[in-house]
Symmetry: none
DNA sequence: CATGAATGAGCCTTCATTCAT
DNA sequence: AATGAATGAAGGCTCATTCAT
């Protein structure tokens, strides 16, 4: 029998990230994804139930990785909360620096995810948030973070800021160095923008 | 002479904001927008060239208003740069507090805008950015803002943070008070999150 | 506005009967039905939810008519059960003589009908069967029909015989006169085939 | 030498009868047939040219058997035409009583047979018909069957009646005893339905 | 012979847009 | 200006068939 060569699922996901980033989920054609992955249209459906499932898998992998990293980070006792937040920021920049198209998909295609009960991306996302808030709470309880900061508000602000930065950077990578963005986030987080 | 009763264009735009917010641009049906606006499907095309033009007009109005406000803000000599930034933040919260659905559209449908040369939203957006950067530059030159802050990076971070906050708030308005968000943005901007 | 001309629903049904008869339900293309009806593909969906709904409507109309006729027949007091059965046989031959393609669809596409609870064809079919069995029961109780005949078995045999005759006749109308078929059914029903 | 274990062709045919009966020819998946037969999808194509060929083989076997039986029946001099017809009716009931699913396929999937010149089922079918008509003609010439009966018409009516009965019985075997059906056919054939 | 992964033609259906009234 | 019936292009998905192993 014909035997699976390489990792077609990964090929499809890589192709889909490119195509979704370029055209958006709704304008992306399965045919184009397949062509980009070097396979036939129908083969996509050997690995994914439908187009949405491809997108969901992208987010599942991404949130899975993010959760894994934050989870490990939270278990380190050699870092205080601030350092952990810095690490987290670096994590985002590192992941998306390697795959800028993933940043574009991450920011723009959230809306198109399915929200079925057993979607793993949801679970990973929740776990990530839990760990993120734990990190902040620890910072507050150990007295390094200003207790007037609302945990949820800060989470939204930081994540939103990172997302938007990365999206803009990914769309025009020459316009601004990613490291400038990275440093500025840390700077602002730490001290605000006042002199 | 015959006078337009009501303002159908405005009705369509209001309807479109609701429908786009609920379903997203691609899943929004012209028929649904028309129905929500209380007119017939075909009538939408008397006021807009196509579906994309409706979305573009929403953004044109929004960026037009934002530009108008920031422009006036910038001309005030009674406020320093920091105060202006606070005003700006309030501006965002005020606009979207009144029309939460607009926040959802604003954050999620950027991708679907056309980028034709003569799109007014682009012009207003550019002007807004210019004025925003002018505001920050002024803050730096007058010594109230940390000169190590990269103007572009800060712009991205702040705008991204606001967008994400507003989107999340709009989607579940009971979960978190908009004023908590508002205060936290200012707090973080001002001092960072450290104690 | 563009106004409905003629009766497109009827045009579609007529076209569908022809196309279903020729190609069978599964090989029939909506495009072909639309073309035969002289309209655009998409217009079919203004009148029918999907392909199956077209088939169901054909059967709904057919069983509706059959029920109406048998119902009226049953109310006549000037006919005995045997005469009513003859009338019924004639009814089948008359209906399908006018639209031979309908016979082909009637016989071959039962399988492809949906069986949703609110399918009207089911209701009409049930009512027809009720009236049919009532007719036979009356014949038995009035002593004109052999009480050893099982009502259900006879119903199956007669209906099956008629169906198969009509199908074969419709597929090659020159091979055998429909009236020979008609007379033979009555003859067999009445006396059997023995001398 | 290597000996075929089991008889895969027969396994496939049995599986196909089940699957065709349950889903109909067009909704039947080769994959499901293969699975039911306990082999791999591709293996079906080692034994049959395509899906249609599987169906054709089912009918070939069936008509082959029917022809064989009617042919033997016709050669018996100890039976008169009427008895032969009764035997034939029993034959149908016996065959399909053993494999009710075959009845469903027999009745519903005629349409989907190919009609290529060298299709054996066609040959067997023709031979069966020939012998069937011979049987009737004999009955007429020996004076036991009413000469006013049209041979073709009677063939259609009887076969159609049997088909429909068997189909309905097979689909709901508890609703009605097959023997009631069998006896009723003979009764009707013999005497008609009058008292 | 057997396998089952891979292929890709084919079609139903949707819905933005048009147009006759 | 307004209507809403009509259009038809477009694409997601299926599955019979092929083929490399």
């Amino acid at each position: 029998m014909r035997v699976k060569e390489g990792n077609k699922e990964a090929d499809i996901l890589d192709a889909a990230i490119k195509v979704f980033a370029k055209s958006g989920f709704h304008n992306a054609k399965i045919y184009t994804i397949a062509e980009t992955a070097g396979i036939a249209t129908g083969s996509v459906y050997l690995y994914f139930r439908n187009k949405e499932a491809v997108l969901n898998k992208i987010f599942e992998n991404l949130w899975g990785q993010l959760y894994k990293e934050i989870s490990e980070l939270n278990q380190r006792s050699d870092l205080n909360a601030i350092d952990k937040i810095y690490y987290l920021i670096d994590l985002f920049f590192d992941i998306f620096f390697e795959k800028p198209e993933l940043a574009i998909v991450f920011v723009n295609e959230q809306t198109n995810l399915s929200h079925a009960k057993d979607d793993l991306w949801i679970r990973y996302n929740e776990l990530f948030i839990e760990d993120g808030e734990k990190m902040l709470a620890e910072g507050i309880s150990t007295g390094v973070i200003n207790p007037n900061i609302n945990v949820r508000a800060f989470r939204y602000f930081l994540l939103g800021g990172l997302r938007y930065m990365l999206d803009n950077w990914a769309k025009d990578q020459k316009a601004l160095s990613i490291n400038v963005l990275r440093q500025n986030v840390k700077l602002i987080i730490k001290k605000g923008i006042l002199v």
